[in-house]
């Protein structure tokens, strides 16, 4: 009996019961969500320990693939399922949101996000993606200010367009292959998808799902939404949901689309994201927008890393993605108290030295200062790009270096502003960080420091994860079994 389905089922069950349950029994609304997330984290950890790193699959409803839907449990899927539960638990809005409906939306998003990490079926991925989208609409609109509703409206329209594009791409693939199971599609892809139509389907899916991954050019919703939504929601969207969207895209790329043009496209879109994101962040006038634009830049970097052919690219891409998964939520949590324009934050570091110290730690890692993990991730990406015998890749490496200069400049400018001398009196109005608002950042900072110390084992483990991700044979034999007759 494989319990991984609980990771999707339990948060959904909680979400269905919460709006009613919280009205009848007060503590249900506060405790049910965190309790369920703890339980799902435990389920993933136990499964992971028992699997010993070997991929497996489950058949939902008991129907054999490719007829039924499967979940594929390799290390990548498990680590993201675990990260989903743990990050949601860490960023759970205990005090701020008394409304049980918002807690229910969080649970719905967690359930669907875990589903995106696990699912091995093209249409099932789309269903979970759509559920993530709709739940995130509610979460970003929850403050119900005029600005938040206006930002949400734009987000809804762009997301809606994205889901239509992704669905068109999926439909195209289905008309060419007659199946939706990823393992089955992998077998058929060489004969049916290695053509213009297959590439078109990939582009449609890339831009469709890329809305959540903040890819150029479907990312114009990002700054306004992150600036107006609750910071914890922004943290989840920028840190977790964007990575899941990327992971889905990369999984499809590895399994279904072997065309070299697809990689070049990733490189170009990623480079534009890096350049425009970091330049816009350099111009930003308040903390949240700066983080939002920086997040666009970082996701562009993730995409550029994944555009390097072969296992090296997957390794570098995973490294950059996991690094950003830890750093960006921590920074958004700091913005809870440091919301708003730079001018109002002058000298705020004197009052909250811990928060300022954490900001500097994360900023250094983002820029890529050794020996922090961000340095190794960026170095691997640069070396990978320069190792290709192709001028486009070299240009990409140049763009990363140029963007890093801007990145360092605006992060240092903000960091120095926090410690501006003689501005203590003006900073009297700036709220001081307390344990509650620092907690999540402190924990994530500790994770970052542990990764710094243990960089060799972490790197080796990540290389193993990348190996599994790159192994198409393994995926097919795990899900379909060897030598079974297929329809």
């Amino acid at each position: 009996m494989n319990l991984i389905a609980l990771v999707v089922a339990l948060p959904l069950l909680g979400a269905f019961l919460l709006p009613v349950g919280a009205r009848s029994v007060g503590w249900v609304g506060r405790l049910l969500g965190p309790a369920l997330l703890l339980l799902t984290s435990l389920v993933v950890i136990v499964l992971w320990r028992d699997s010993g790193g070997v991929p497996s699959h489950i058949e939902l409803g008991g129907f054999q693939p490719p007829l039924g839907i499967t979940f594929y449990l390799d290390q990548l899927a498990l680590v993201f399922a675990l990260a989903t539960s743990l990050l949601a638990l860490l960023l759970w809005p205990h005090a701020a949101w008394r409304d049980a409906r918002v807690a229910a939306l969080m649970l719905l998003m967690v359930s669907a996000a875990s589903g995106m990490a696990l699912s091995g079926d093209l249409f099932n991925l789309y269903v979970f993606y759509e559920l993530v989208s709709v739940a995130s609409f509610g979460l970003v609109a929850a403050p119900k200010t005029g600005a938040a509703l206006a930002a949400t409206l734009r987000y809804v329209i762009i997301s809606g367009m994205g889901t239509v594009m992704a669905l068109t791409g999926i439909a195209l693939i289905y008309t060419q292959t007659g199946t939706l199971n990823l393992a089955h599609l992998t077998l058929l892809s060489a004969t049916t998808l290695d053509n213009t139509l297959g590439l078109t389907a990939f582009v449609l899916i890339l831009l469709g799902i890329g809305v959540k991954a903040e890819l150029f050019p479907v990312n114009i919703w990002v700054p306004e939404v992150y600036a107006t939504a609750s910071q914890r929601v922004s943290a989840l969207l920028a840190g977790l949901i964007s990575k899941l969207a990327i992971i889905v895209i990369i999984r499809l790329l590895v399994l279904l689309f072997p065309q070299p043009e697809a990689l070049t496209l990733l490189l170009v879109i990623g480079a534009l994201g890096v350049l425009l994101g970091e330049l816009a962040a350099w111009h930003a006038k308040d903390f949240e927008r700066m983080l939002a634009f920086s997040s666009i830049g970082q996701l562009g970097l993730v995409l550029m890393a994944f555009s390097i052919p072969g296992q090296a690219g997957l390794f570098a891409g995973l490294a950059v993605a996991m690094h950003h998964l830890i750093v960006k939520p921590a920074l958004f949590v700091l913005a809870e108290r440091w919301s708003g324009g730079f001018a109002g934050l002058a000298g705020a570091g004197w009052k909250s030295p811990w928060a300022a110290g954490l900001f500097i730690l994360f900023a250094l890692s983002l820029i890529g200062v050794p020996p922090l993990p961000g340095f190794w991730a960026k170095l691997m990406t640069l070396l990978g790009l320069l190792g290709q015998d192709n001028w486009i890749y070299w240009t990409g490496a140049g763009i990363i270096l140029l963007a890093t200069v801007f990145e360092a400049n605006y992060l240092f400018r903000f960091g120095l502003g926090l410690f501006k001398a003689g501005s203590e009196s003006r900073s009297a109005k700036v709220p001081v960080h307390d344990a509650g608002s620092l907690g999540p950042s402190l924990i994530l900072g500790a994770v970052l420091l542990i990764a710094t110390v243990m960089i060799t084992p972490v790197g080796n483990w990540l290389a193993g994860v990348a190996d599994q991700l790159a192994d198409r044979e393994l995926y097919v034999t795990t899900v379909l079994g060897a030598g079974r007759e297929l329809p």
């Binding site: 269903v127 195209l172 008309t175 060419q176 007659g178």
Partner: protein
């Protein structure tokens, strides 16, 4: 920046759609999995209506996801449209003809709705279709008598419990040693009212959930829309 991206994006999209039109061969789609399901579904699931076998059996988790999306949409609509105090404007009541005919229609629509839901595994129809008819049945009185209060709590209880029942049935299968959402109670003989194991039960709770959700959603829209 923004002014430049939109036309570029639109042009790119148009290009890709043109590629699809140029390359695509209509009518030549292979029915790989579809054909296999058509062949084995009546035997494995016991449904006379193959669509139901796909919706609740082969792709049951998709259906669970879809009702979760509907639930989320209704939750978000409630959250965003919630009134911040103030009373709804009084509307003139509808005429006798409208009121009496909605009263006559109400039980009929309930019967049709439940019939379609309960025969979902036998004939075209099922939880989604029947649920919409149930929602319409509860929505008609709202249109005819604008003054009556909607019992949102009752709707919320219905949709919460129905959705939970769907998942609990799936979990029972899991803890009995099967897979999550595996059909229970055998298949019976296809074509009988009592056949297809637990699938009709799933369709019943799905129908109730869809009905309660749509009714709640429509009630929100009517009440909030008429506010200003």
């Amino acid at each position: 920046m923004r002014n430049l991206t939109s036309p570029l994006f639109a042009a790119g999209l148009a290009f890709f759609l043109l590629v699809v039109v140029a390359e695509f061969e209509p009518g030549a789609a292979p029915m790989v999995v579809g054909q296999a399901i058509l062949q084995e579904a009546p035997e494995t699931t016991g449904t006379a209506n193959i669509v139901t076998a796909v919706v609740l059996g082969y792709r049951g988790i998709d259906t669970l996801g879809e009702i979760a999306i509907l639930f989320t949409a209704s939750l978000v609509a409630g959250l965003v449209l919630e009134r911040r105090g103030g009373k709804r404007q009084a509307q003139a009541p509808a005429g006798n003809v409208l009121r009496i005919s909605t009263q006559l229609l109400f039980p009929l629509m309930l019967v049709i709705g439940f019939y379609i839901i309960l025969h979902g595994h036998l004939t075209p129809g099922g939880g989604f279709q029947g649920g919409v008819i149930l929602a319409a049945a509860f929505f008609l009185p709202l249109l005819a008598r604008p003054g009556i209060q909607v019992r949102h709590f009752g709707l919320a209880v219905t949709e919460g419990l129905a959705g939970s029942a769907f998942i609990v049935i799936g979990l029972i299968a899991l803890f009995q040693g099967g897979a999550f959402l595996q059909p229970l109670f055998g298949t019976g003989s296809p074509g009988q009212l009592l056949s297809a194991g637990s699938l009709p039960i799933l369709y019943l709770v799905l129908g109730l959930k869809v009905g309660a959700e749509l009714a709640g959603l429509l009630a929100h829209l009517v009440y909030e829309g008429s506010e200003t």
